[in-house]
């Protein structure tokens, strides 16, 4: 069975705390088997662990996601160093062109996020080339389209369509997710995918944006976060390797 992922669910979705079970039940009904919750690592660790534990009852896997909003490139570098190993998914909000360019080519960044309509202009063909080199995906989030109406929505659709067209042309991975702030902002995978029709994304690609692409990002990061990981393509396997790892840990 195909696994569907919502890569962007805000922690506020799980408030009030008493309704966590009901919310997880709805997420399961929607058809998601994996969700990534955007958290503040320092503050919300306990809530995350609690949600993760409860989600096991609903056969939902929960992972951490951090959204970085760097002020400049230096700040981005510092934050990447600080947070990369603390979460499974790391995204950068491309508020400026420079930040967008730098984040696109950095292999530590998983997803480029465009929080405002104006930010979409930062994604150009040259940024797309860098994103392919850096194996960085771009994110289209559904909530953004619910927030606006009329002319603003029309312009947002047009600009996102342009970004999607460049991404498809250059081979940049696209991820469609909800960006939900409360449970009513969430949509089932098929509805998220339907947004792709509005953006002229081919049907085959739409299926990838809600399942394969996010799953591949997650798999790669999980293997990188594993203690057995040495380098891309090099892992410690078997009993001897584990013993060596234990010995190394006790030595240090």
């Amino acid at each position: 069975m195909k696994k569907y992922i919502d890569m962007y669910v805000n922690q506020t979705v799980f408030q009030p705390k008493e309704q966590v079970d009901r919310i997880l039940e709805i997420i399961s009904e929607l058809g998601f088997s994996i969700i990534c919750i955007s958290l503040d690592v320092k503050k919300e660790q306990n809530i995350f662990e609690e949600i993760k534990k409860k989600a096991e009852d609903f056969s939902i896997e929960v992972y951490r996601r951090i959204n970085l909003s760097p002020k400049n490139v230096e700040d981005l570098k510092n934050k990447l160093r600080q947070f990369r190993r603390k979460c499974e998914i790391l995204t950068v909000k491309c508020l400026e062109k420079k930040i967008c360019t730098w984040a696109a080519r950095d292999r530590r960044v998983d997803i480029l996020n465009f929080p405002f309509f104006e930010c979409l202009k930062n994604f150009t063909e040259s940024t797309a080339n860098l994103a392919v080199e850096g194996d960085t995906a771009i994110e289209i989030w559904f909530k953004q389209f619910l927030n606006v109406r009329g002319i603003k929505r029309a312009r947002l659709i047009a600009e996102t369509r342009r970004v999607a067209k460049i991404a498809l042309k250059k081979g940049v991975k696209i991820v469609i997710d909800s960006g939900a702030e409360n449970i009513f902002d969430m949509r089932s995978p098929r509805e998220l995918g339907a947004l792709g029709y509005l953006l002229d994304i081919p049907e085959k690609q739409i299926e990838l944006t809600i399942s394969e692409n996010p799953l591949n990002i997650l798999r790669t990061n999980l293997s990188k976060l594993s203690p057995n990981f040495v380098l891309p393509g090099v892992e410690i396997v078997g009993e001897e390797g584990k013993n060596w790892l234990k010995k190394k840990e006790t030595d240090t």
Binding site: F145, L146, N182, F184, M186, R187, E191, A194, L195, L198
Partner: protein
């Protein structure tokens, strides 16, 4: 001979904290349909709300087979009906009302 325009029946479920009256729901679907696709696009969909159960919050809408994805978008874009936050989930799409009811309703 195959009909040029075949009907499709979309079964959906509403998630909301309050009850959603039929009139408000119809009004909001039309409003969304017209804002996203305009009068010309809306005319192509052959949209009609066939059935709506206010208690179960489930309903069936009709559209043409070429406009199913359009209707998916229209239903997905509904996030507030009469000031009540809502979420619409499509349970399934069928070619006849009978199968729609048997399989998804």
């Amino acid at each position: 001979m195959v009909k040029e325009e075949r009907n499709r029946y979309i079964v959906f479920k509403l998630y909301s904290n309050d009850d959603i009256p039929l009139e408000s729901l119809v009004k909001d679907i039309w409003r969304n349909l017209l804002t996203i696709y305009g009068e010309y696009g809306a005319s192509k969909t052959n949209f009609w709300l066939i059935e709506y159960d206010e208690r179960a919050k489930k309903g069936i809408v009709r559209c043409t087979h070429t406009t199913v994805n359009m209707m998916r978008i229209v239903l997905a874009f509904i996030n507030r009906i009469a000031e009540t936050p809502v979420m619409v989930k499509i349970l399934g799409v069928s070619g006849t009302i009978k199968t729609a009811k048997e399989k998804f309703y």
